[in-house]
Amino acid sequence: MSTMLWLIPLIPLIGAIINGTIGPKLGERISSGIAILSVIGAFIAAITVVSGVSSSAGHSVESDAVAWMTVPGTSLSIPFSFHVDPLNGGMLLVITGVGALIHIYSASYMHGDKGFSRYFAYLNLFVFFMAVLVMAGNLPLLFVGWEGVGLASYLLIGFWQEKWSATQAAKKAFIVNRIGDVALLIAMFIMFREFKTLNLYGDSGILTQLSSASTLHVQTGVATVIALLLFGGAAGKSAQLPLFVWLPDAMEGPTPVSALIHAATMVTAGVYLVCRFHLLFEMSPLALQVVAWTGGLTALVAACTGVAQWDIKKVLAYSTVSQLGLMFVACGCGAFTAAMFHVTTHAFFKALLFLGAGAVIHALHGEQDMRKMGGLASKIKSTHLLVLVGTIAIAGIPPLAGFWSKDEILLAAFDHNKPVYGLAAATSALTAFYMWRMYMLTFQGKSRVDEHTAHHLHLPDARIVLPLSILGVLSVLAGFLNAPAVGMHFYSDWLAPVISSPEHSHNSGLVMGISVLVAFVASAMSVAKYKNVSPESMEKSGAIFAFFGSAMRIDDIYAAVVVKPLTGLATWSSLSVERNGARGILRMGHSTVEGLGKTVRRWQSGVVGDYILSMAFALIVIISIVLVTGTRGGN
């Protein structure tokens, strides 16, 4: 079993190494074949491990520890060790499973790109780091995965390096993520100080210490600080306020990347982190409040922004930010099971939507503007049908997956935090609205596609349709993994060893009713509004629309409040301090010496008589001193 744990990250790593070194010589077929098979291999290993988890005694599987950082003479020994329990086991299945589907899809999508094998090397590298992140048995190893997925994300967003905007977005993603990473790093340091270890599991592991409340001596204040710092890290990775600005820009990368990294897996790492440390968050009501409010506000802001986008990928990007916000609402309301469940269902339907959008973009030769789409339903039928499924799922219409997972979140918010519930409910309504808007603009109405493209549509091949179909089926059915209303709670039972299930709420019926009503009304409004939208009405947009469209100008605020002062600081330190300050010290020294020299040089007249006079004078002075003091030379 231990070997299987190692295989999960290592197989994709080997794939990445092969593709990264000799990939270009292999040709597309072998290159993509290696990449796909390595992820499928990891998926099979993950299934084996996860099935072992349920049968094992402690509901968890540990790998052997292999030395990594060991400092002799100190207690510090940080190994490579992996741990799988129900919480990260579920994540692993999603990562490798959805990852495999997206690899298959990519083989068709990236066909003909000159960086084909490089792309698959990066993608495999991502799966490796993501597996390390969720399976890590200690915090530094988690951090390896945490920064590693950031690296993979950086490389893939900037995959088309000739494009300035792509490299710009890649850089932005990495830097903004780094801000969160620093928070995580500091949280790690404090935890090391408090818990005297960096291991997560095992007898003295941090999570074990947290679970035995009687012996725990960590104060609430410290717990709050750690929890907030952890959430800072999560906010960077999972694109929450105020660090969400990188995610919309990340859409510069190839679309399958957006589906895998920036929708299904990497961005949910923050939610995973908070759930992993849910015991710590539960110690601090303040931290939970912060998480809930940040999530709620992010969800609403991003949803408002999503309504005002024309770029099909931007709609989905803001939608992802918004859905991640809902997951944090769940965390903040103590419903960690609901959060993880939404992570799972969201991975299915958001990957489906992104890949569907990718298929549309592919069909239209790279066109992403919804104003130049429309009426595609009859032309790319399979894609249309699957995107429709995804739209229904995310809009929260029963009985598809999104309804069940979102309902759990709304219920938890209703029970614990009414104002945040308001934010979340508004978000749900807006979600339904903008998703139907996207669907209608893309597939219904009159075609606004230009003549040439319309006649030469790239129709999706099997490698595109197959992953979409599987995701479509999952989007329909996954909700029933955890649908208490119809008596199904497989998922909360599965997580029970790690996260205790919440007690049954009596508001369930009320909240569900409101949700269904809101979803239907918002969907209907959207369909009605965009049914026969005219091209002219799209061109004019009001000030409010523009304001929301630019994500409430947060990028501009950042530029003014953060980037500009920091650039100023850098320039100032380089030009003023460095040149005038530090080198000024040097210059001061040299001008003192020079000034002294200027004074003394006058004595050196060059006239022999002057020298002799001064010698005679000196002689007189010396002799008189000797005479006056009576000192005698010699003996």
Binding site: M69, G148, G158, T167, I175, A582
Partner: protein, 488 residues
């Protein structure tokens, strides 16, 4: 093999003499051969071990000027073993990867060989005066190198460099002489014992602590004593720069660990918070200045200030993990920054400019080179699984419990390093070439193999740092024990 250090020092010197006698064509071959044998000998010798005295092995003693107390006394502990290895290795790299300037091939190689040998003397010396002499003498070949083969601004760079380091060093010399007058010896181990037993005048120790701190902090380019660094690094020819930034600047950190803290007594301990704060300031300030540069060599030069800030923090906090991380990070900085400087040199050579405004699109015509450059960049950014992460992580982890605020500030510097390094990569490697037909960066066999070896080290140390940490901590433990006499 107790004469290890003599052999390691003598080989490059012999090579230098031979090079001055033989024809100019064979200079490079002789330099490579001499330094490579020295490197192999040092690896072999350090792994086999020698006689041991108070935590130091390979002890060797021979008189030079015994009346002055000047002895050839050498000995290695974990830290100096690693630094000697680093220096011998960097010497090989320095003479291999970068072609010498056409006008003075001989002088170029000879100055590198001598600089490396003298740096090794300083690292291995157990005689304080001998250390001082080597510490100072190693500057001479660097100054000659800057003055003869340096960049456009070379004379100014050489003068600033000289003035700055010499002022610090003279303070150090006065303190060393003071110690000799008080205790009657220049022998390091004896001095350490008598300081630890409290037999030395405290005000003298106080002066020693201050003077040696100024000297070593200048060498390590700790803000605000870093002013020489920018101009000197940018104008130093690449081969010598590898030694200057990779090995000689480490003499500053080495001096802090070896001399300032153990010989400075209680007063040196009380300086620690100040040094840590300056280290954190260096991290942030170096990043800020690096971010405002337009010359890629200057970016990396100023990034050194930032990296040295981390190393200084780890060196002084008195935590074993941080100390070991700091020693390891000295090695890492030598490898990574050296590799980046080499890359700069290649870019300048093939593209004719180091200004980011003139660069771009390197990836599209030199894929292997760009991948390696990207790897070194991420090592510099301290990405996990590269060597940079292990060092920085251990330093910050060890320092945090004592200095949470300074450590947090230093940790935040990680954002800064991402900003300037990725900016540089974006402008120079990505995008499309700016002007004219781009010249492919062609790597020769030796150049390619050295870069690949460096790349393997970056990843190898990132994944399996434990053997090196074991060597490094050997030192850390002994030195901290010496700082607390009651433990003895």
């Amino acid at each position: 093999m107790n004469e290890l250090i003599l052999v390691v020092v003598a080989l490059p010197l012999v090579a230098a003499v031979l090079a001055s006698l033989m024809s100019e064509k064979s200079t490079k071959a002789i330099a490579i051969l001499g330094s490579a044998i020295a490197c192999l000998v040092s690896i072999f010798g350090i792994t086999t071990g020698g006689n041991i005295d108070r935590g130091f092995h390979h002890i060797f003693n021979a008189p030079w000027l015994p009346k002055l107390g000047l002895m050839f006394s050498f000995g290695l502990d974990g830290m100096s073993s690693l630094l000697v290895l680093l220096t011998t290795f960097l010497t090989v790299v320095a003479v291999t990867v970068v072609p010498a300037p056409k006008q003075a091939v001989r002088g170029y190689y000879i100055s590198i060989l001598i600089a490396g040998a003298l740096t090794n003397v300083a690292f291995a010396s157990l005689n304080v005066l001998l250390f001082y002499i080597a510490f100072e003498a190693a500057l001479i070949p660097v100054l000659i190198s800057i003055g003869m083969f340096g960049g456009a601004d070379r004379s100014k760079a050489a003068i600033q460099f000289f003035v700055f380091t010499v002022i610090g060093s003279l303070l150090l010399l006065s303190a060393i002489i003071g110690l000799r007058i008080e205790t009657g010896t220049f022998d390091y181990l004896t001095l350490k014992d008598s300081v630890a037993s409290g037999g030395v005048n405290p005000s003298l120790l106080r002066w020693f602590a201050i003077a040696s701190f100024v000297a070593f902090a200048t060498k390590a380019a700790l803000v605000p004593l870093h002013a020489w660094l920018g101009r000197a690094y940018v104008n130093t020819p690449t081969g010598m720069l590898l030694l200057l930034s990779g090995a000689m600047a480490k003499l500053g950190i080495y001096g802090l660990i070896r001399f300032t803290l153990p010989l400075g007594g209680e007063y040196a301990e009380s300086l620690v918070p100040l040094i840590v704060t300056l280290g954190a300031v260096s991290v942030v300030y170096g990043a800020a200045v690096a971010a405002a540069q337009s010359d890629i060599k200057a970016v990396i030069a100023f990034s050194s200030i930032s990296h040295m800030g981390y190393i200084v923090i780890g060196a002084v906090v008195g935590d074993d993990a941080a100390r070991s991380g700091s020693v390891l990070q000295m090695l890492n900085h030598g490898i990574t920054t050296g590799a980046l400087f080499i890359c700069c040199d290649y870019i300048a050579r093939f593209r004719g400019s180091r200004q980011v405004a003139d660069l771009g699109g390197i990836w599209s015509d030199s894929p292997l080179f760009s991948r390696l450059l990207l790897l070194f960049t991420f090592s510099s950014v301290a990405l996990p699984l590269t060597n940079g992460f292990v060092g920085e992580f251990l330093i910050l982890l060890g320092a945090f419990s004592q200095f949470p605020i300074q450590t947090s500030v230093a940790a935040a510097g990680a954002v800064g390093s991402a900003v300037y390094m990725l900016w540089m990569i974006q402008r120079s490697v990505y995008g499309s070439p700016k002007s004219g037909t781009p010249k492919q960066i062609v790597l020769g066999v030796s150049e390619r193999s050295v870069l690949l070896a460096l790349a393997l080290m970056v990843i190898g140390i990132g994944i399996a740092p434990s053997p090196l940490l074991a060597i490094a901590s050997d030192n850390g433990h002994k030195v901290s024990a010496a700082m607390q006499p009651e433990v003895k």
